[in-house]
Structure formats: structure tokens, C-alpha cells
């Protein structure tokens, strides 16, 4: 048999809300893996005493540190909401096309909303 080519797949396939949420679920899962490591390091510095803790505090208060912290908050929020969506699906509900779109959008916007809420409460704005 001739060396048959493989037809294009991910290069041409159109994205939609459910596939975007699904891939983001995986990506945020990986981010969270590293995020937990960072949180452990943060705790370790806390145990080492005040002067060591200052080092990580300065880092976390820098622009990059803030970006990472807000990013982690979003990634945890997203993972949590998406996981709830998966749990509902595992029970056999929410498979109608319209419903999957709505729950997908809820996950996307809900994660942004939760990030803002955490930020507002954490900063003591309210």
C-alpha cells in the first residue's frame, strides 16, 4: 500500500465552548500542580522565620508575583467550576447542546467572577 497521508485534524477543526473548556480544564490542572508547589514553598519560607519570609513577600508583591497569584486564583476557580460541571455530567445530566454551551459559559465567566471576588475580599476592599 502506498504511503497514505494523514488528513489534518486539530489544525483545521473548529473550536467551540465545550472543547475550549475541556482543554482549559487540562491546562489549569497542570498550572495547579505547580501552584501547589509554590504554595508549599511559601509556607516553608514562613516556617524559616521573619527575615526569610521577607524575601518571598517581596517577590509576591512584585508585578510578576501579583500576576502569578491572580493567575493561580483564576486557575483554581476555573478548575473547581469545570470539575463541578464534569460531576454533573457524570451523573448523566447537561448533555443537550444548548445546556453544554450555557454551563461552559458559566464556567468561563464564573471563574473570572470568582477571581475578582477573592481579590476584593482578600484585599479587604469590602
Amino acid at each position: 500500500m502506498k504511503n497514505r497521508p494523514l488528513s489534518p485534524h486539530i489544525q483545521i477543526y473548529k473550536w467551540h465552548i465545550s472543547s475550549l473548556v475541556s482543554i482549559s480544564h487540562r491546562i489549569t490542572g497542570i498550572i495547579n500542580f505547580f501552584a501547589i508547589t509554590l504554595i508549599c514553598i511559601w509556607f516553608a519560607f514562613m516556617l524559616l522565620g521573619e527575615s526569610e519570609y521577607q524575601t518571598i513577600k517581596i517577590f509576591l508583591e512584585s508585578f510578576l508575583g501579583k500576576f502569578i497569584l491572580i493567575g493561580i486564583t483564576w486557575s483554581f476557580s476555573f478548575q473547581m467550576l469545570s470539575e463541578i460541571r464534569h460531576l454533573i455530567m457524570d451523573l448523566g445530566y447537561g448533555f443537550e447542546l444548548q445546556t453544554t454551551k450555557i454551563t461552559g459559559l458559566l464556567v468561563i465567566f464564573g471563574s473570572i467572577f470568582l477571581t475578582i471576588v477573592v481579590y476584593i475580599f482578600g484585599r479587604g476592599v469590602i
Binding site: P8, I12, S19, D90, L91, G92, F95, E96
Partner: protein, 259 residues
């Protein structure tokens, strides 16, 4: 391992450009994936300018028009032209569907037509579905009932019959399976939405006596649980069926039943 890029022999080049000869003002560009097994060249995209004033509403009509009037060498499968046979399944505008039921008005911009994704191409728009048919065979898609004689009628209540709705209508066009990223990367082991929907159809048939054996057969990390509810399948199905839900139901049965 997940391979995101295409292998060397599958890289797509720009092909020929067929300029409009009718002088029509209502033109659309149609990009079609071409590969000819009789040459040593790789796949290419040919572009056709099609006169839309004299073209019926579906993507299959465009293909027929090109084949009849512009370039008779393009190759594609089609038969019934009414969404019943499932022959003309292909990827149009980035989404799988039947060319005969997909209106070209629904596709924005240039119309891109590719074979079903992640298949070995036989020629132009025809992908090799042998692997999928073998998997279909493996679930033994026929009624298994040993306690009744072949000549006896097996009764089924209206409620039990209703359970088959949404499963028996499948025409095995492979739009769903070839839209599934899990099937792209694990298609040799993962059964894919089309075959799992059929497995479900026989598992829930009240007349079938091999329910447990059927469940046991699909209860496999790779055969079934590679479904991660990406839902490309349900989005792609031209018959409006829901393979993702059927797979979820099988998972649920396995979680609750003592198999």
C-alpha cells in the same frame, strides 16, 4: 503520545487555482483537499471559483458542480444526497458533517473542504474507515437472544422501545468519531463515540440477553474511559444524536451495576 503536527508526508501545499470562466458576479472560493495516490506528490489544496447564482443550497451541490463543470478529477463519496446513507461525511468549514445536508450559506468566508480528520487518506476527500468498521464489528452489533426460538416473536414494551430512540437512528457516517480528539490520538484502542453509541444501543435493548457480557466488554480504561466529554461528537452529529450522553450512560451503568 499526542502528536499535534502532521507527519512529513501529510504536509499540505498550495495547489492549482481554477479561475471562474462563467463571468458570474456572485463567486465563492472553495478550497478542497486533494491527494492523488497515483503520483508521488503530497497533499495540496486546490482553489475553485464557483458561480453561486447557479448552484443549489448544499455543500454537496458545490462539489457536484465542480466535478461536472470545472474539474472532473475530484473524488468524494456520495450516494443518497438526503442525509440517510452517510457517505458524504467530510469536514466543511472546520466542522464535520454530511455534505448533502450542510448548507453552504452557514459557512462564512471561503469554503474549506477536507476529508474527515485524522484518517489515512485514500484519495482526495475519501478517508480510510476500516479501523472504525473493525471496532464496530468487535462490539457484535446484533441481537443476542438464546432463550427464544428464531421463529418466535420477542415482545418489547413501548417504554423499552423508547429507550432505543436517539441510538438506532445512527447511520455510521463517522462524523462524530473523527471529530473526537481522544479518538484522533487513541483511535487504535479507544472505541470512539460512533461505536460506543452502538454498544449502548445493544446494552439497553430489553430483548438482548447478553447485557452483562456487553458491559464487561466495553468496561476498559482505553476502550471507554478515554472519553473526556469534549463534546465534539454531539456537536458534529448530522442526525442530532448525542453520543456523549450515551457514553455517560454506559459509565453510569458500570458505576452502579455489579458487572
Amino acid at each position: 503520545m499526542v502528536q499535534l503536527s502532521l507527519p512529513k508526508n501529510s504536509e499540505i501545499k498550495k495547489g492549482k487555482y481554477f479561475k471562474d470562466k462563467t463571468g458570474s458576479k456572485n463567486l465563492r472560493k472553495v478550497n478542497i483537499y486533494r491527494w492523488d495516490p497515483s503520483t508521488d506528490e503530497g497533499p495540496r489544496i486546490d482553489t475553485y471559483e464557483v458561480d453561486m447564482d447557479n448552484c443549489p443550497s448544499k455543500v454537496l451541490d458545490i462539489l457536484n458542480k465542480i466535478k461536472n463543470e470545472i474539474d472532473s478529477t475530484i473524488t468524494y463519496r456520495r450516494s443518497c444526497a438526503h442525509g440517510v446513507c452517510g457517505s458524504c461525511a467530510m469536514n466543511m468549514g472546520g466542522k464535520n458533517g454530511l455534505a448533502c445536508t450542510t448548507p453552504h450559506a452557514e459557512i462564512d468566508g471561503d469554503i474549506d473542504i477536507y476529508p474527515l480528520p485524522h484518517l489515512k487518506v485514500k484519495k482526495d476527500l475519501i478517508g480510510d474507515l476500516d479501523g472504525l468498521y473493525k471496532q464496530y464489528q468487535s462490539i457484535e452489533p446484533w441481537l443476542k437472544n438464546n432463550s427464544t426460538k428464531e421463529t418466535t416473536e420477542i415482545y418489547q414494551s413501548k417504554e423499552d422501545r423508547a429507550k432505543l430512540d436517539g441510538a438506532y437512528e445512527c447511520i455510521m457516517c463517522a462524523c462524530c468519531s473523527t471529530s473526537c480528539p481522544s479518538y484522533w490520538w487513541n483511535g487504535d484502542k479507544y472505541l470512539g463515540p460512533a461505536v460506543l453509541l452502538q454498544a449502548y444501543r445493544w446494552i439497553i435493548d430489553s430483548r438482548d440477553e447478553e447485557r452483562k457480557a456487553r458491559l464487561k466488554k466495553v468496561a476498559d480504561e482505553l476502550k471507554l474511559y478515554r472519553c473526556h466529554t469534549i463534546l465534539n461528537c454531539t456537536n458534529a452529529c448530522p442526525k442530532g444524536l448525542n453520543p456523549a450522553k450515551a457514553i455517560a450512560e454506559i459509565k453510569k451503568m458500570l458505576a452502579t451495576a455489579n458487572v
